[in-house]
Symmetry: C2
Subunit: 640 residues, 2 copies
């Protein structure tokens, strides 16, 4: 039986398990990346593993999130990451060098390789035929130490692209169309592969826009074939030697298929507040626009920026609009500066922001109250912009630029002839802002600022457990409920003790205090507990507060894995009706928990003189991690 | 008797008082400017005056402070300022167009004119022969309404510049030398005029660097002659028509004289934590540098940036250094983009920040803990960078760029031949980001976001006053003690009720609550009460909290004026020994206050059965304002 692209790469990296649907598989990881909001914790965890030099082919630490630096905490994080990287064989991309996914594509990514990154948009690498996954920081730490990365074997989806895009229609419109059809849950447990004659018509940056926003489908990852277009891109980056061809076999079998006729696509937008709330620009109509933001790991390539510059050239941003431009990397930025395109952008009245994530992660540029903001980004969740009542629309760079001039949402097709943008045959290569690992690591002193606190470590499971129920939640608790982020709290990602004061702050403000009084306890959750982002802080902080188990109706996959990694038991009610029989403040006992977890049997729960059963549905590897008090403890045991 | 430049401009604008030392004089104001951290309040005050269109020759509202926008508050301020400006005849410079002082110099300033601005570095305009003053927002509002601006008649200081600067020595080094000699108090109550053969050797941007940092001398303002250099600059800006020649008469009399031989100057730095703590770069030695920041209203001109680009060209920023560049205006930025200099800067590994105040006002780029940061800015007060233990050195752009490459503090004289930078004969003129006032003001709706709250208004003085002593402070209370600023609180400048929760927070955290319980009261201060910045919020917020009088040993001049503007009585102990006889919580009565203020007699004070006298030393105009309950009430009375 023929193989899909993903199956070929998975097979070449399989170190544990069998590639059968639903089974957990362990993969050898070739490359890792981190960004600075998750990086400090990942490297603290790596340090705790006691590994001297990373065992990957290439690990890179990027600074792209906390670049506003409204306090010493950010610069201290950068300093720590810079020094710990240099000491342990990790490349360090300085603040200002660009967004991790854009720079990685330019300078490090390679077809056929595996990559995990502590950022949910790591699948961007699929644009050049990598198998690239977003992961928790601990997963990245383990991979840097040479350990395997575990996922449930995903299903395979083929999206066949026929025809070619019409003028002014963009790769962003393709992925918005996929989102419209599949929804934000449609990709869960699946790898999305792109195929068909349309693939060859798309440049690497266009492919990367599509794989990037596969994250919004909930997909495990997305991947494009590696073809002549991929080779040309890598050669233009001076890295033609890493190119290998990659395609699915003609008789490869997919679990799901989807066909998109590129000829019929029109410019689209995802309306507030969900990336799959997609409609045509024409259909939405000429609504008044207050802000336009162009950039982010989705749409900040040289190709994107050149299109924007061509549209803005000789024009003027509408007086009522604030237009921000964040080039994706120093390479992009400098090429625009050299060829005059940047001057065209500036002269039109754009605000040029640093090469970083910026407004996409709510790091500045919050729109005005109830403002309409068009963004070329990947997420338009309510409040993510920093303005709770702002209305965010996700659009292509073409739509964004056209609308910035007009002051109202504008279909770029109304602009007349589309400027021809050619992919460069030679990119401007300058790796001066990427600091190589030290030749003499023993001479490097790792610098830890006062905001950098050790992360909590779980303890081995004991024979029985008794504690209080410290919280009882409704269904659909998100990681944002568990732990808010945003510009004001992100700097404290390195300071779990401080950050813990904000745990569940919008659900039950007394939760942190209660945990401290009770010495921790058990959280009762509803269905779909822990949905949302992959932030492992949503497990680490409860661990710090002494939470030993979460007993819920059901869990979101990534959060469940993060709980296991932290050594917190993820338990589900065998009979969901038992949810109604437990209450905040009850004493809860797990009388035989050690033996039951060890045996893989159901877990006995006693609350208020009443007993019922819970399930602990984890893989054998996860079972071992829970017994050890978390994955890091387990990895250290394994290493011995 | 001959006249100084300042005396000529003052005489031409005198509308009240006599130009005798110490006497209060009233001046007609030709131009005003505001920035966004002070602008919202200034325009709320202007609106309260009920004037339809500004009566100045030119008023401009700039957005340059709160440009990070980590929340809706900033964008809402921008929207309010943009709409209120359009309605009332004020030009509006959008966020991204640049720093108020740089843009004003380029596009609006004119020799011989008077300018007041709600920013302490407004004296920058002295670089083209304006008489330009930093002022409170209310002063600006009154001037926009056609009212006079009042100052005590300053003394005259002449700084004679002989010779010419040696290669690599900079205008920044001249003003640092003046600071070294005169100290940060040396300019109080004085106007500094520059004269001598050295003047003709200095370009307008160099002169503006010098007048800008006159603010750090405590000077009322600083001014250069208007000569051929000035004319050439204005002609290159397409504004040759506003040029007039200006020089002091040969027999002009100065109260103080200083001579600086430019030939002997060396590159200098102001060491932590005061702008007058000046030493040679050579003398300080090659200390390790963590951060270098180039920009701010002091050193962000085309001329400055071109020097920096020439030094960085073909070089690489040291791996351990974070170099930020903030061009002063869209004009500067676009000229650098067009001529290739920006590419040289980017390629060296600099981080390009928006054209705005940025790190100078603590808006981002806080250095790492205990980090050494070289900055081309004007202030290096402890903690102003956002990192309490950072060590900030104020240096020239040449020193900054040389050190960014070397990684240690470096005398630029060691770089070899200095590149020749010529002033352009034609600047790139593009006023697209400056929005003109509406042709039909009646159609403009002023938009007020939810963070924009009305400002408090005082009430007319009553016959007697009785209240509690709600605070008793030590000597040398600064406006930072009264009301902290920084990135976290600046967005609340438009929201006095919220901001009031932080009043005296670092002196007595219970102060705001106590005022609310007692319905306000009286503050007892020591000597030099209210020193520091000119922020009028340090008076407006106590007014909001119900403070009716401050009874101190002595006041800083600007804060005293702000108290009067707010209708708070600034009283001084006739006998300082009485300070010891009053305590927090005492009931205080001013039994005849209305009559005594009206008559200009001493004020009777009763505390705990004991009576003593206080002085209320104000001008007749201020007396009338106090009776009316503040300057705005008084101005409205006058208008009727």
């Amino acid at each position: 039986m023929g193989k899909t692209i993903a199956e070929k790469i998975l097979a070449a990296h399989l170190v544990d398990g069998e590639m059968l649907p639903g089974q957990e598989i362990g993969l050898r990881i070739d490359q890792t990346l981190t960004q600075d909001a998750t990086g400090t914790m990942a490297y603290l965890q790596f340090e705790a593993m006691g590994v001297d030099q990373v065992k990957t082919e290439r690990s890179v630490a990027y600074i792209d999130h906390n670049t506003l630096q409204s306090g010493f905490e950010n610069a201290d994080d950068h300093k720590y990451i810079g020094t710990v990287a240099r000491k342990h064989g990790i490349y360090y991309s300085k603040a200002g060098n660009g967004i991790c996914h854009q720079v990685h594509l330019e300078r490090f990514g390679a077809p056929g390789k595996t990559l995990i990154g502590s950022d949910s948009h790591t699948p961007t690498g699929g644009g050049i035929g990598m198998l690239a996954f977003g992961a928790g920081g601990l997963d990245v730490a383990v991979a840097m130490g040479g350990g395997a990365y575990y996922i449930p074997m995903p299903k395979m989806v083929r999206v066949t692209l026929t025809g070619a895009l019409k003028p002014w229609v963009s790769a962003k419109d393709i992925i918005l169309e996929v989102l419209r059809r599949m929804s934000v849950k449609g990709g869960v447990g699946k790898i999305i592969e792109y195929a068909g004659e349309g693939v060859a018509t798309l440049s690497v940056p266009e492919r990367a826009t599509i794989t990037n926003m596969g994250a919004e489908l909930g997909a495990t990852t997305s991947v494009f074939p590696s073809d002549d277009v991929t080779r040309a891109f890598l050669e233009a980056q001076g890295r033609g030697d890493v190119w290998v061809p990659l395609a699915s076999d003609p008789d490869a079998v997919y679990d799901e298929e989807l066909t998109i006729d590129l000829n019929t696509l029109k410019p689209l937008a995802a309306k507030p507040h969900m990336p799959d709330n997609v409609e045509t620009i024409e259909g939405i109509g000429a609504i008044k626009v207050n802000q336009v933001c162009i950039g982010s790991c989705t749409n900040s390539s040289y190709y994107d920026m050149m299109k924007v510059a061509a549209i803005l050239k000789g024009k003027r941003v509408h007086p009522d609009v604030s237009l921000t431009i964040s080039p994706g990397s120093m390479q992009v930025f400098n090429m625009l500066a050299k060829n005059g395109a940047l001057s065209d952008i500036i002269a039109a009245g754009a605000r040029i922001l640093e090469c970083a994530c910026g407004p996409c992660i709510g790091m500045g540029q919050s729109p005005e109250s109830a403002g309409v903001s068009l963004r070329t980004f990947n997420r338009n969740f309510e409040g993510r912009s920093g303005t709770q009542d702002a209305k965010i629309y996700l659009v292509s760079p073409e739509t964004a630029a056209a609308s910035a001039i007009a002051g109202v949402l504008t279909d770029p097709c109304t602009l007349g002839d589309m400027p021809q943008i050619d992919m460069p045959t030679h990119f401007d290569i300058n790796d001066d802002m990427i600091i190589k690992p030290a030749e003499h690591p023993e001479d490097v002193e790792v610098v830890r600022g006062p905001n950098i606190h050790p992360f909590p470590l779980g303890s081995a499971l004991e024979a029985s457990y008794t504690g209080k129920i410290v919280l009882k939640t409704e269904d659909n608790i998100t990681t944002d409920h568990i732990l808010p982020a945003g510009a004001k709290l992100l700097p404290y990602r390195s300071n779990i003790p401080y950050y813990s004061n904000y745990c569940f702050i919008n659900v039950d403000p007394k939760f942190p205090e209660r945990c401290k009084q009770e010495g921790g306890g058990v959280i009762i959750g509803g269905a779909n507990y822990g949905q949302g982002s992959s932030r492992e802080h949503a497990a680490l902080v409860p661990l710090y507060l002494g939470v030993k188990a979460v007993l819920a109706k059901s869990f979101a996959r990534i959060h469940k894995a993060n709980l296991v990694n932290s050594g917190i038991l993820p338990l589900t009610f065998a009979d969901p009706a038992d949810y109604d029989a437990v209450a905040l403040g009850n004493t809860i006992t797990l009388p035989h928990v050690l033996e039951e977890v060890k045996n893989g049997s159901q877990i006995t729960v006693q609350v208020g003189g009443r007993a019922f059963m819970a399930d602990c549905e984890v893989s054998d590897r996860q079972r071992a991690a829970l017994l050890a008090g978390g994955t890091l403890n387990y990895a250290k045991q394994q290493a011995k």
